[in-house]
């Protein structure tokens, strides 16, 4: 999936380059938190591991063989930030040293294979580990699903980029079917290998698997012949208030939605264009919410298109934030209630 030069046009390459640079910058900061000052040697060695494991051939049948892409594996083993960093470094070196993937397409490649794969895989993995029972087996299952979805997700992201900035006009539907179809098959292999590899590491050194950190059994002390829960070690420096992050995010999204959208292109996006050109959109039914006051990203009764678009953006952000905060609040209240109940139960036991 290494994209060569001349495949995606210059503006889209430049934009994805900026996206990739931002993601790598963010990961550099995040990786320092995951690995502190050990970042350079450890991330370097993990990148070397990814590089080596991509050369490990897995025979499929009748002489054909596949190899690991490694995005999901890196995310689960060493964490999302270090994962993005390792894959990006591998892609950079492949581009500069081995001419594998074009230099101008470096942004496209890093965004697709580094950022999208790792983020999708890790988000899915975290969610599944939270939902599934706290066992080692569920880590393996979660990594299977995460790796399975991450590969077609990268293919879909590529299709999106191709629709926006492909140098040749191929119907987006055709590209999507071909890319996602092929990469779902590749994803199956990736998933099987990733799950087996994570399982193998968990069996020997479960402490090394970043994604399985919450699964360690609590420390028990034998006091007078009875097993007692040891007091949990307090981890220093974790009490950072989320308020600052929350406010920054809110301001950024309001600015983006309200002001930057003024300058967004008003012409139809690639998919809409394909649909329009082929008459696909004639069949498309109007969205169920088409008559809602925010239909098609504009506020009714406001004539100025830009003002109405910006206002609709701000209202949309407000609604999303309200819904998200509500969900978050409910979840947190339930969790603190559970913790309180557990604590009081323990207190009663010791009394």
């Amino acid at each position: 999936m290494h994209v060569p030069d001349g495949f995606i046009n210059a503006p889209v390459s430049a934009v994805t380059g900026v996206v990739a640079a931002g993601a790598v910058g963010l990961s550099l900061r995040g990786a320092r938190k995951e690995l502190d000052e050990r970042t350079a040697p450890l991330a370097g060695l993990v990148a070397a591991f990814v590089f080596a494991v991509q050369m490990l051939n897995f025979p499929v049948a009748a002489g054909t063989s596949g190899h690991l892409l490694g995005g999901a594996l890196a995310a689960i083993l060493v964490g999302p930030y270090t994962g993005v960093l390792c894959i990006s470094v591998v892609l950079l070196m492949q581009g500069v040293l081995f001419a594998d993937g074009g230099l101008t397409a470096l942004g496209v490649n890093i965004t697709n294979m580094g950022v999208v794969t790792v983020v999708v895989a890790y988000a899915l993995f975290r969610g599944l580990v939270k939902v599934l029972p706290k066992k080692r087996r569920s880590v393996t299952v979660a990594s299977f699903v995460a790796a399975l979805v991450s590969v077609p997700a990268a293919a879909a992201a590529f299709t999106g980029m191709y629709a926006l900035g492909g140098t040749t006009y191929v119907p987006t539907g055709t590209v999507l079917t071909a890319m996602v179809g092929v990469h779902t098959l590749i994803g199956l292999g990736e998933a099987a290998i990733t799950a087996a590899t994570v399982g193998a590491v968990i069996a020997v050194r479960p402490d090394l698997v970043y994604g399985a950190r919450g699964l360690t059994a609590p420390l028990k002390l034998r006091v007078g012949g009875e097993l007692v829960d040891a007091a949990p070690a307090t981890s220093p420096g974790r009490a950072r208030s989320p308020r600052k992050v929350w406010i920054t995010g809110l301001v950024a999204s309001v600015v983006l939605a309200g002001f930057v959208s003024f300058y967004a292109s008003a012409s139809p996006d690639g998919l809409e264009k394909v649909a329009a050109d082929h008459g696909m959109d004639k069949k498309a039914e109007e969205h169920a919410a088409a008559n809602s006051p925010l239909a098609d990203y504009g506020v009714q009764d406001i004539a100025d298109g830009r003002l109405s678009g910006g206002l609709a953006g701000v209202i949309g952000v407000a609604a999303t934030v309200a819904a998200g905060t509500g969900v978050f609040w409910v979840v947190r209240r339930r969790r603190t209630a559970d913790a309180d109940a557990a604590a009081s139960a323990r207190a009663e036991e010791t009394v």
Partner: protein, 253 residues
Amino acid sequence: MGAGHAHRLYRRGDSPVHALPPHCKLAAVLCFVLVVVATPREAMWAFALYAALLATVAYAARVPAGFLLKRLLIEVPFVAFAVLLPFVAHGEQTQVLGLSLSVDGLWGAWNVLAKGTLGVAASVLLAATTELRELLLGLQRLKLPPLLVQIASFMIRYGDVIADEMRRMRIARESRGFEARGVRHWGVLAKSAGALFIRSYERGERVHLAMVSRGYAGSMPVIDEVTASRAQWSYALTLPLSALAVCLLGWFL
């Protein structure tokens, strides 16, 4: 590791291109590829001129044509994709040898082939004339974050070690009669991959401890600062500037 710290694509030599500072070469190659990608695909002669420019560089660097052509094989998978384009693209159709092909698809295939090949050739020339360590120093000079350069240098430095560990594991597997033939053997291979990860990670921890005991505090000292004179810059930038001239001609003619 005994093979020195040169990579497979590097070709030792003492040509003027080899002697250029690495960051000049990196900047020149990057600008050249950018210019090539920005050229309109209808200007076929422009791509011939670009190829001639690269051939001149190869001649100046004393890189034989056979070496360069062999390295170009890396883009074969995309040639396959380019060949498919005329069949799947829509739009105006034309008849070639009794086949109905899309005009836009033919242009697209030409576009991908020409630009991809030129890009790969430029990268191969860069890699063939620049040593690994120089390349990393050049990236640092071009203001890549130092931590990223450190990670890349560790990856390069230990890449061979890790690959050799993998090779030793393969020899160990094979000497016990194991032969991977199909999906049923993936479990064994995945266990090897897991073991390889644990070994790599533990080696990383040991490397970190060794660095700390030698006074590492988060940044590497720069011993050999590379600088480039104005003459070297202008020599290196001849390539992208002449390419830019060709590109502008391509847009306006």
